[in-house]
């Protein structure tokens, strides 16, 4: 009994320690977003202070944050949408016709550092006059979303018995009809997982937007940059902007927590 109690205490101590390490930066950011610049940089750090909303006012009033929000949403939704349109049939094909080489190739695209795509993209998009266009950003974000969709969904389709579509095909359906009428309606949980994860990764992406977007298509992570200048760093603004950016992602994760965890445990996603 004592041994069990001891192991329980040890377990929770470890959990709390890990949670502290993980949550500390987030809490620091949240608390700092309500501090003045003076309070933020004071030493020793102030744990008791008068909260202020001036950082959030700056974010939403001085900066065109809603535009950036809209840009991120457009890029994320369209990139994920196109990735689903292309990725679902590809994943089905990989699952049913065991195309291992193709699946590894797609995974490689995900594992390669994104920065290696940037130089060619920059050249191609600037020659096509597509810099600072939604199309360029959407295509680049599909590099993030498409492998996630393909990898998660091919694993998911493997869990659906083949007999489902075989039965539909014997009943008179073509394979395509069976896919749309039988397989897709059964794939809801997988599609939610893939959509949520790929949208969050697109939402948080900094590098592609930093190079390929300018004022017109600037997305939220780039907008944080507005608070950094050569002269000073507006830490309060950065923190408030970061909180504003993270909130939709956190809400999405909390709503679809079950599916997100499942997606991550499918071993499908590079964290």
């Amino acid at each position: 009994m004592n041994k069990k109690l001891l192991s329980n205490i040890l377990f929770y101590l470890i959990v709390i320690a890990i949670a502290c390490i993980v949550l500390f930066p987030f809490l620091w950011m949240l608390v700092s977003s309500f501090k003045t610049q003076v309070d933020i940089i004071s030493w020793p750090p102030k744990f008791f202070f008068t909260p202020t909303l001036q950082n959030y006012q700056k974010v939403f009033e001085e900066q065109d944050f809603l535009k950036y929000f809209l840009n991120s949403t457009i890029v994320g939704v369209v990139a994920v949408g196109f990735s689903l349109v292309l990725g679902l049939p590809a994943a089905y094909s990989i699952a049913r016709f065991t195309q291992k080489k193709l699946s590894v190739f797609i995974l490689l695209a995900r594992l390669m550092p994104g920065i290696s795509f940037l130089v060619p993209w920059y050249i191609v998009f600037s020659r096509l006059n597509l810099m600072d266009s939604y199309l360029a950003l959407i295509l680049s974000h599909m590099l993030i979303a498409l492998p996630i969709v393909v990898w998660i969904m091919s694993t998911y389709f493997n869990t659906i018995p083949r007999e489902m579509e075989e039965s539909a095909m014997v009943d008179g359906a073509t394979r395509q009809y069976a896919f749309f009428a039988i397989i897709l309606p059964l794939s809801g949980p997988g599609i939610i997982t893939a959509t949520t994860l790929s949208f969050i990764f697109s939402w948080n992406n900094f590098m592609f937007s930093q190079v390929l977007s300018m004022e017109k298509t600037k997305t939220l992570p780039i907008a944080v940059y507005n608070f950094l200048s050569y002269a000073e760093v507006d830490w309060g603004g950065v923190m408030a902007a970061a909180v504003a950016i993270m909130t939709p992602a956190i809400i999405l994760t909390m709503i679809f927590q079950k599916y997100v965890v499942k997606g991550l445990t499918m071993g499908a996603v590079k964290g």
Partner: protein, 365 residues
């Protein structure tokens, strides 16, 4: 005409032949059962008839049409899968009407067909339910219902009863047989269960290692097995096989198993003569062994030691050891059943025994 013909059909996976040169004809309105142990190629053969697998070589005909390159949807067949494959997101009515909807039949006609099939199978009350709200037996009926609403040329059943409990299996066996008589359809039924094959089939097609072993009516394959595999596969408990040799003494022919020797019936003589002094396998079914009856006077009894006695109510299985040979006997339960450890005298019904060539495993007699 909805007969099904397979001509020299081969299915290879790499270097392995799952189905090896299979040539069979399933007649119009016949209840044909493909039976064999796991991996014998029976399901692959069925899937090739359905169009879910492509034959490596050979031809498949349904009616007069060669269907080699025809997709499953155009073959006018219906299939009941082992795991039923009901569409979980559709209720029973939509599951059953799915094939008719694809054929763009009117809703009124679909409803009429679905209700007719539901009526036959006694599942009218389940039409609004989803598959997850059904028991195993009910799902099985829905799967059969989905097949019969389409009134196809040929029905294919892939081990449809293997997920049911023993009692339900017996009931469904009888129902599928009744359904066959009622619909007058051609049915190809795959199972590994020889009891299903024996009880339901017009003809049994026994397969082993991708090759056809024997075709015949149930009692034909039981009484005249083509080889040792068929003899051991059909019948429960399985036939006892004993290594022996054929001996001739004072003009009489004997089966000499080393530990015991029994006299072969005169009807065996002509077929056994070429095997004199050669090794053979002697086969005797458990049900052709009984406790010695002095009045019957068969003269062919053996002495064996009772190792295990299994009581099934109306009958008993007695596991015996006779010298180095292990045997099982199946007999009506006597008033005082034998006890473990008893030395029993067992009569063999020699006219019903078999002898197999030890090299080729083919039946000699």
């Amino acid at each position: 005409m909805s007969n099904v013909i397979l001509k020299n059909v081969v299915k290879r996976y790499g270097s392995v032949a799952a189905v090896d040169d299979l040539s069979i004809e399933i007649r119009d309105q016949e209840f044909a059962v493909l039976v064999g142990s796991s991996g014998c190629g029976k399901t692959t053969a069925l899937r090739m008839i359905a169009g879910l697998e492509t034959a490596t070589s050979g031809d498949i005909f349904i009616g007069d049409t060669c269907v080699n390159d025809m997709p499953p949807k155009d073959r006018d067949i219906a299939m009941v899968f082992q795991n039923y494959a009901l569409y979980p997101h559709m209720n029973v009515r939509d599951n059953m009407g799915f094939g008719l909807k694809i054929r763009q039949m009117s809703k009124k006609d679909i409803d009429a067909r679905v209700e007719e099939a539901a009526d036959i199978l006694g599942i009218q009350a389940l039409l609004a339910r989803k598959p997850k709200e059904l028991s195993g037996g009910q799902r099985q009926r829905v799967a059969v219902g989905r097949a019969i609403v389409r009134k196809p040329k040929v029905f294919l059943f892939d081990e449809p009863l293997s997920n049911l409990d023993a009692k339900l299996r017996v009931a469904m066996r009888a129902e599928i047989s009744k359904l066959h008589r009622r619909l007058g359809a051609t049915i190809i039924y795959v199972t590994h269960d020889q009891v299903e094959a024996m009880t339901m089939a017009d003809r049994i097609f026994i397969m082993h290692n991708g090759a056809l072993q024997q075709i015949g009516a149930p009692m034909e394959v039981y009484r005249q097995p083509a080889n040792r595999f068929v003899a051991g596969f059909i019948g429960s408990p399985a036939m006892n096989f004993i290594d022996a040799k054929v001996a001739l003494e004072d003009g009489a022919m004997f089966i000499d198993a080393g530990g015991f020797r029994v006299r072969a019936p005169e009807t065996f003589r002509s077929r056994l003569e070429p095997y004199l002094d050669r090794p053979v396998i002697f086969g005797v079914r458990p049900e052709d062994m009984s406790l010695h009856d002095a009045t019957a006077g068969t003269g062919n009894s053996i002495k064996a030691h009772a190792d295990v006695v299994e009581t099934l109510g109306s009958e008993i299985f007695v596991h015996l050891t006779c010298e180095a040979h292990s045997l099982v006997a199946r007999m009506e339960a006597p008033d005082s059943p034998p006890m473990v450890g008893d030395m029993l005298e067992i009569d063999l019904k020699m006219a019903k025994t078999h002898v197999f060539d030890r090299e080729t495993s083919q039946t000699i007699v």
